[in-house]
Amino acid sequence: MTLSSTLRRAFAGPANIALSLATLSILALILPPLFGWAVTHAVWQGDMETCRAASGACWAFLQAKARFILFAFYPAEQLWRPVLVVMALLVLMILSTLPRLWGKALLTLWPITLLSAWWLMAGSGPLPRVSVNDWGGLPVTLLVWTTCMAFALPTAVLLALARQSRMGGLRSLSVAYIEVMRATPMVAILYFAMLILPMALPNGIILDKIARATIMTALFFTAYLAEVVRGGLQTIPAGQAEAASALGLGYWRTVQLIVLPQALNKVIPGLVNLAIGFLLATSLLAVIGVFDLLNAAKASTTDPAWMGFYDEAYIFAALIYFVLCFGGSRYSLWLERRLQRH
C-alpha cells in the first residue's frame, strides 16, 4: 500500500475526513510531549542527579542498570553462562520456527539444550556453583518458559488423548484435571508451589523456589495445551483411526502415525499463540518473589543510586516481551497461511 493511496482513503468523503482529523488531533496531543520526554529532554549520560534535574526520560539509568535487569544478581565474572543460555535458547527457538527443520533432530536437541542450560546456570563439576537465589532476569524467564513448554506439550497430548478416549475412568480423570486447572488462577497455582508443595515432599528433600514454580507452572500450562490439542484431535474423522485398525495397526501406532501428525498440524498456530500467552504469564513468577525479567526490572527501580525510574525500566522490559511476542504472533499468522496452502 502506497502512501498516496493511504492518504486518498483517509480523506475520502466528509465522514472519513472528520475521523482522520479527530484521530490526528489526538495524536497531536500525545505525540509531541512523548517525543519531548523520550528524545529532546532525555538524559543519555550522567547519574541520578542529572536525571532528576531534567524533565525527560533517563536513558542513562538503562545504561547503568541494563545488566541488572537482564541478569539480576548473577555474579559478574560468571556472566558468560546466562548469556550463553539466552543465546542458545533464542537460536534453538529461531531454528524451531522453520518447518523444514521439524523432525527428530530438533526433538532431541531441545531436551539436551534445556538440561545443559539448567546445568550451566547452576554449575557443578568444573563450573563454580551459583545459588538459585542469584539467578534472575531474562535467562530465568526464558528457561522456565521453555522448560514448561517442553514438559507440558507431551503431557498435554496424553491428557487430550485420554479425554477423547472411550475409557470412562481415564476420561473423567482427564476432564477433572483440565477443568480444575483452567478454573484456578495461576497465582493460586504459584501459591500452591510456594506453600504446599514443600510439605508434600518427604522430609529432608528441599526443592528451590524456581524448580517448584516451574513444576507447578508446567502442570498448569498442560491443561490449557491439552484443550488446544483436543481441538485438533476432534477434527480427525473417526474413519481414519478405524481404517488404521482395519489395517492391523495398534492404538499407539495409529496415534503416532495417523492421528497425531494430522491433529498437531492443524493446531500448531494455536499452540504458538498459547505459547506466547505463557511467556507473558511467566511474569507472574514475580508475585512469589522469583527474579524473572519483570521482577528484575521492578527491583532495578529501588536501587538507592537510581531511585524511581520505573518508566524507563518497564519500557525496557516491555520492549523485550513485545519483540518476542509480536514476532511470535506474526510467525503464527505466517505459519497458518503456509499450512493452509499445503
Partner: protein
C-alpha cells in the same frame, strides 16, 4: 415385513442392559489397566498426603477449618464490608470476595465498553484510525498484564498532591486517591432503586405491546426516572478542591484504580479483537441485501449484523470475562486486598496454607461455573434468535 429391532437400536446383546452393564460400557476398553492407572495416581496422591500430614504434625498445625472462626489480627486497607482487626477470618475472607467481585465486575463493564468502541474503530475503513487501533491492540496484547499493572500502580502512587492534581469536572488524579463523582441519596437506596426498577419494568412491558413508538416509551421512562430521583434527593456529589485537600466525590484507592485500569486496558484489547472478529464473520452480502431492502444503517446493525455477530462474540467474551476475574488475583502483587491476597495473609498468619489454597480454588471454580452458566443461558437466547423457527 418387519425387521427385528432392539428397543434402543444400540446394544445388540439382549442382556447388556441394567446399571452395571451401562457402567461397564461407560468404563470402556482395558478396564483393568485403567483401574491400575487410577490406583497408581491415587497412591501417589496418598503419598503426598501422608507427607503433608507429617509436615503439619512437625509444624504443630491442626488441619481443618476451625481457624475461620478465630480472630484475625490484621488490618485490611479497603473494604466494602466493615472490617477491623479482631474480626474473624471468615469475615476477612468475605471482605476479600466482595473486593474481588467489585474490581472484576467493574473491570468487565469498563473493558466491554472500551473494547467495543475500539473494536468498531478498528473496523472503520479509515487507515489513520485503523492504524492507531492496531498499534494499541498489539502494544497491549504483547506485554504482560503484571508489567502493565506495575506501571499503573507506580503512576498512581507518584501522582501529584491535591493542589497540583490534574483533573476537573469532578475527576481528580492525586496521590491521595482518584476522585470521581459519587451518587448520593438523602433517603437511602431502597426507594430510588425500586422506583427506577419499576419504571424500567413498566417500559419493558409497554414496549412489548407496542409496534411503534418504543423509543418514546423509553425516553419517557428515563425522564420520569430522572424526575423521581431528583425528587427523592438523589444527587451527584462532585469532588472539588478545598484548601489543601479534595473534598466530596468518591475516592478510589491507588491500588483499586491501578488494578481496574490495568484489567480494563488489557481486556479491552482482547474484547476489541473479539468484536472485530464477530462483526467480520457476518458476510458483506447480508449487509448489502439489507440495504437493498431499504433498511437504514442503524437497522442493519441492530437487525442483521448484531444478532449474527453476537453468536460468535458471546462465547468468546465469556471466556474473556472469566480470564479477567481470574487475573484480578494479580491484586496481590500491588497490595489490593482481594480474595487471593487476604487468603495469602491468612495462610501466612495461621499456617493453614492447604485450607487457604483450597478456598481459593473452590471460590474461583464456583465463580467460573456460575458465570459460565449465566452466559450459556444468554448464549442460547442469542443463538436461537435469527434462526428459522420450526
Amino acid at each position: 415385513m418387519t425387521l427385528p429391532v432392539t428397543s434402543d437400536g444400540q446394544s445388540p446383546h439382549p442382556f447388556a442392559r441394567g446399571k452395571f452393564a451401562a457402567l461397564v460400557e461407560w468404563w470402556g476398553p482395558r478396564p483393568w489397566s485403567q483401574i491400575a492407572a487410577i490406583l497408581g495416581i491415587a497412591a501417589l496422591l496418598l503419598w503426598f498426603g501422608l507427607n503433608v500430614a507429617a509436615s503439619l504434625q512437625r509444624a504443630g498445625i491442626t488441619p481443618g477449618f476451625g481457624f475461620l472462626f478465630r480472630s484475625a489480627n490484621f488490618q485490611i486497607g479497603e473494604s466494602t464490608l466493615a472490617f477491623q482487626a479482631g474480626d474473624t477470618y471468615l469475615r476477612a475472607i468475605a471482605v476479600g470476595i466482595v473486593n474481588t467481585l467489585k474490581v472484576a465486575v467493574a473491570g468487565c463493564v469498563l473493558a466491554t465498553a472500551l473494547g467495543v468502541a475500539i473494536g468498531i474503530g478498528g473496523l472503520s475503513a479509515n487507515p489513520i484510525l485503523g492504524g492507531l487501533v492496531r498499534f494499541y491492540i498489539e502494544a497491549i496484547r504483547n506485554t504482560p498484564l503484571l508489567l502493565q499493572l506495575f506501571f499503573w500502580i507506580a503512576l498512581a502512587r507518584n501522582l501529584p498532591g491535591p493542589k497540583q492534581a490534574p483533573g476537573g469536572a469532578g475527576f481528580y488524579l492525586s496521590n491521595r486517591g482518584i476522585f470521581v463523582p459519587a451518587l448520593t441519596s438523602a433517603s437511602g437506596w431502597l426507594v430510588p432503586v425500586a422506583v427506577v426498577a419499576g419504571l424500567g419494568l413498566a417500559a419493558i412491558v409497554a414496549s412489548r405491546f407496542l409496534s411503534r413508538g418504543r423509543g418514546l416509551v423509553w425516553l419517557a421512562a428515563v425522564a420520569l426516572s430522572a424526575l423521581a430521583l431528583s425528587a427523592l434527593g438523589v444527587g451527584l456529589d462532585i469532588a472539588h478542591l478545598q484548601g489543601f485537600n479534595i473534598r466530596g466525590g468518591m475516592s478510589l484507592s491507588p491500588e483499586f484504580a491501578a488494578l481496574l485500569t490495568a484489567l480494563t486496558v488489557k481486556f479491552s484489547a482482547s474484547i476489541a479483537e473479539i468484536v472485530r472478529a464477530g462483526i467480520l464473520s457476518v458476510p458483506v452480502g447480508q449487509r448489502e441485501a439489507a440495504r437493498a431492502l431499504g433498511l437504514n444503517d442503524w437497522q442493519i446493525l441492530r437487525l442483521v449484523v448484531l444478532p449474527q455477530a453476537l453468536r460468535v462474540i458471546v462465547p468468546l467474551i465469556t471466556s474473556s470475562f472469566l480470564d479477567l476475574a481470574k487475573d484480578s488475583s494479580l491484586a496481590v502483587a500491588i497490595g489490593y486486598p482481594d480474595l487471593v491476597s487476604i487468603l495469602n495473609t491468612t495462610a501466612n498468619t495461621t499456617g493453614q496454607a492447604i485450607e487457604a489454597v483450597f478456598i481459593m480454588t473452590v471460590s474461583f471454580l464456583a465463580l467460573n461455573l456460575s458465570v459460565a452458566a449465566l452466559m450459556n443461558r444468554y448464549n442460547t437466547r442469542v443463538a436461537l434468535r435469527g434462526q428459522v423457527k420450526r
